[in-house]
């Protein structure tokens, strides 16, 4: 049996104004409208835009919705409406049950007061009674792991310690039916973050949760489903698989690209692609063999390294280009070759292929480039990848049947 719907959002929109002076004037208008008993307007006034537009949403008990989208997509505005801080301009929001919000950790902390005093203040802001706080304060202090400093003024705390205290109060004190989380788990050290996640998981099946984060691994491990917001609207369907939602997120990000200096130029094309996405990224499946056709020009003898990075940032796998078991030194001039990067034992995500060209004599970097290719990997399994590996040049480049021959030999053979 499906559990009851705790958050129901129907056709909700919210407009914002780009100009400060106008915004203030509209604020006055809206206030007088309230006084005259008029509902909010459906039309945009000058310099207004829909920050959130026609959002429909249902979250049941036990579900966790990951709300993703780039900065300014409207996630926080939507969350604020759900939390009752601002009114929707159109539509209707229904919230059933006790709401807990881990949004402003340590709200109401006064820097001059001690951690212990601030626990009481913070808990009070979150709607808890003094008796409840007194009963659980030791538990809160233990969870925060800052007992040694609990009677020190909060202004002497590091930002991490402040967040620990804020999280401990909010998380331990609340027993919510509905939970809003806005980027709060991104702070604190890793051990504490893991502890927080475990705590959150333990209350997950009793709550309807909305989780806003830019941390895709966190969203995919934490949420039951995800929706992508872009320019105030959902651009993914309610039942879209998580991996596809994530892909939309990364596809919309401008990839980091840098250019070569003088002395080297490399371009590459993926031969083993399963097709291109709308945004031009090559799609491959986990386990596919990745074969590149590379064209490069170097002004001096050089070695070439390829690198696969996550979302264009974190290097994941390095490839040393070699030929017949030897690191290949490319003589000055133009080269074209086919390169086998081996099987893509990568997890479902978006990756970028980058390249580094080093001078053979002193290994100085002659050129670097990110975003040579964008790769989208679809996977069914989670694997651990080898970080550094060899990539061999396939013999007989340029002859028409070299590649088919190579592939034929690979059919029954072991992967390198």
């Amino acid at each position: 049996m499906e559990k009851e719907v705790l958050i129901r959002v129907e056709g909700v929109s919210k407009k914002y104004c780009t100009d400060l002076r106008r915004s203030l004037r509209y604020g006055m208008q809206d206030m007088f409208g309230e006084l005259r008993g008029k509902p909010r307007g459906h039309e945009l006034r000058a310099q207004e835009f829909w920050a959130v537009k026609d959002i429909d949403l249902e979250v049941r008990r036990g579900e966790c919705l990951g709300l993703i989208g780039h900065n300014g997509a409207g996630k926080t505005t939507l969350l604020r409406m759900l939390n009752g801080l601002v009114k929707p301009d159109t539509g209707r929001i229904e919230i059933r049950g006790r709401v807990g919000a881990l949004i402003a950790l340590g709200a109401g902390f006064n820097p001059i007061l001690t951690g212990r005093e601030n626990i009481y203040v913070n808990a009070s802001v979150l709607g808890l009674r003094k008796a409840d706080v007194a009963a659980r304060i030791e538990e809160v202090i233990d969870f925060s792991e800052i007992r040694d400093f609990i009677d020190t003024p909060v202004r002497n705390y590091s930002s991490g310690m402040t967040v620990r205290l804020g999280f401990s109060v909010a998380a331990l004190m609340l027993e919510p039916d509905i939970l809003f989380l806005d980027e709060v788990l991104a702070v604190g050290d890793m051990a504490f973050t893991l502890k927080c996640l475990n705590l959150m998981r333990s209350i997950m099946d009793r709550t309807a949760c909305v989780f806003v984060s830019h941390n895709m691994p966190l969203v995919s491990s934490f949420c039951t489903h995800a929706r992508m917001m872009h320019k105030g609207q959902f651009i993914t369907a309610p039942d879209e698989p998580m991996a596809d939602v994530m892909n939309r997120y990364v596809a919309l990000a401008p990839t980091l690209r840098s250019h070569f200096g003088d002395g080297a130029e490399v371009s590459a094309q993926l031969l083993s692609s399963r097709g291109r996405t709308v945004d031009g990224a090559e799609t491959i499946h986990q386990g596919d063999e990745m074969i590149l056709e590379v064209e490069c020009t170097v002004s001096e003898p050089a070695t070439i390294f390829f690198v696969i990075k996550t979302q264009g940032t974190v290097p994941l796998v390095h490839y040393v280009v070699e030929e017949q078991g030897q690191e290949k030194v490319f003589a000055a001039g133009q080269h074209t070759f086919t390169l086998n990067l081996g099987r893509a034992d990568l997890n479902s995500s978006n990756y970028g292929l980058g390249v580094t060209v080093r001078r053979a004599s002193d290994h100085a970097v002659m050129g670097k480039r990110d975003g040579l290719l964008d790769l989208v990997v679809k996977a069914d399994l989670v694997t651990w990848s080898h970080m550094v590996r060899r990539a061999s040049i396939i013999p007989g480049h340029g002859t028409p049947d070299a590649l088919p021959q190579f592939l034929a030999t690979r059919q029954g053979g072991e992967p390198a």
């Binding site: 539509g91 919230i95 006790r98 001059i112 003094k130």
Partner: protein, 288 residues
């Protein structure tokens, strides 16, 4: 299904509809929120009061240092003949000290609501808690200051040989009236004052001006244009009544005093409604 407490879950609905459309529900919510905010208000007030004086050497003395300095200044100016003050019917120092102390209670009350909202902005825009708590906490803070002031005022008056009488029992009411009037005006200013900083600049200027048409540092003139100002100024009744009850006489403007208090009570209710209605608009425009 029910929530953890075994009660049916609280259902809240947010729509673009104006809250005034359902006044009954709105007043019920106002009362419920007022009840819910009592403990939080107390907590916030304790927080602010203890933090305010913890990082200070003179601590609670600050509650009356400013009026004391003002008094000394005026006493000096009048003895030096810089200003000519008409007869006040009591030692001039007592007159000025009581006047400035009472006046300070009023100005603190009038700036309090805005100060409370501004200083809690980061909390207000991110968390949903009963907003009444901010104003209640502010009133508690002002009242704490009032207690400190009262504890100083009575001995000072006695020291100068002015004997309070049975009217002293009414004196706390005069103090409460000052807080009530100040808060009601201040609360009415919050919606516009949060949007436009002009209000925040205007208020201290206006109170400064008002002080000179209120019998704070010199007695009410008997005739002339200024006398009309003094008479028309509702604050005159408050200050005169407070001072009279403290220094052992009946209020010379009791009817006016009661009238001002009644009007202020109505304004406070109005300000409260306005404050609630405007809060969601203010949060939108304040940003985070």
């Amino acid at each position: 299904m029910s929530s953890a407490q075994g009660l049916p879950p609280r259902v809240v609905v947010y729509t673009p509809q104006a809250m005034l459309r359902a006044p009954g529900a709105m007043f019920r919510e106002m009362l419920a929120d007022l009840r819910r905010s009592r403990e939080l208000a107390w907590r916030l007030a304790v927080r602010d009061i203890s933090a305010q004086y913890r990082a200070s050497v003179l601590g609670y003395l600050w509650a009356f240092i400013t009026p004391l300095v003002t008094t000394l200044m005026w006493v000096f100016m009048s003895t030096a003949g810089v200003v000519k003050v008409s007869d006040t019917g009591m030692p001039y120092a007592v007159f000025v000290f009581t006047g400035t102390m009472l006046w300070q209670i009023f100005t603190e009350s009038i700036t309090m609501p805005q100060a409370q909202v501004t200083s809690s902005q980061s909390m207000v825009v991110k968390l949903n808690f009963p907003r009444e708590a901010l104003i209640l906490a502010g009133m508690l803070k002002v009242l704490f200051g009032v207690l400190v002031k009262a504890a100083v005022l009575v001995p000072v008056v006695l020291f100068f040989g002015v004997l309070p009488d049975v009217h002293l029992l009414l004196f706390p009411l005069a103090l409460l009236a000052l807080v009530l009037v100040g808060t009601s005006i201040g609360l009415l200013l919050v919606p516009v004052g949060t949007l436009y900083s002009d209000v925040g600049r205007f208020v201290p200027m206006a109170t400064q001006f008002l002080m000179y048409v209120t019998p704070v540092v010199y007695a009410m003139p008997k005739s002339g244009l200024l006398a009309t100002f003094f008479q028309a100024n509702p604050l005159s009744a408050l200050i005169l009544t407070g001072r009279a009850w403290l220094t052992g006489s009946a209020s010379p403007m009791l009817i006016e005093f009661l009238l001002v208090v009644a009007v202020a009570a109505v304004l406070l209710l109005l300000g409260w409604v306005l404050y609630r209605l405007s809060m969601s608009v203010l949060i939108e425009r304040m940003g985070s």
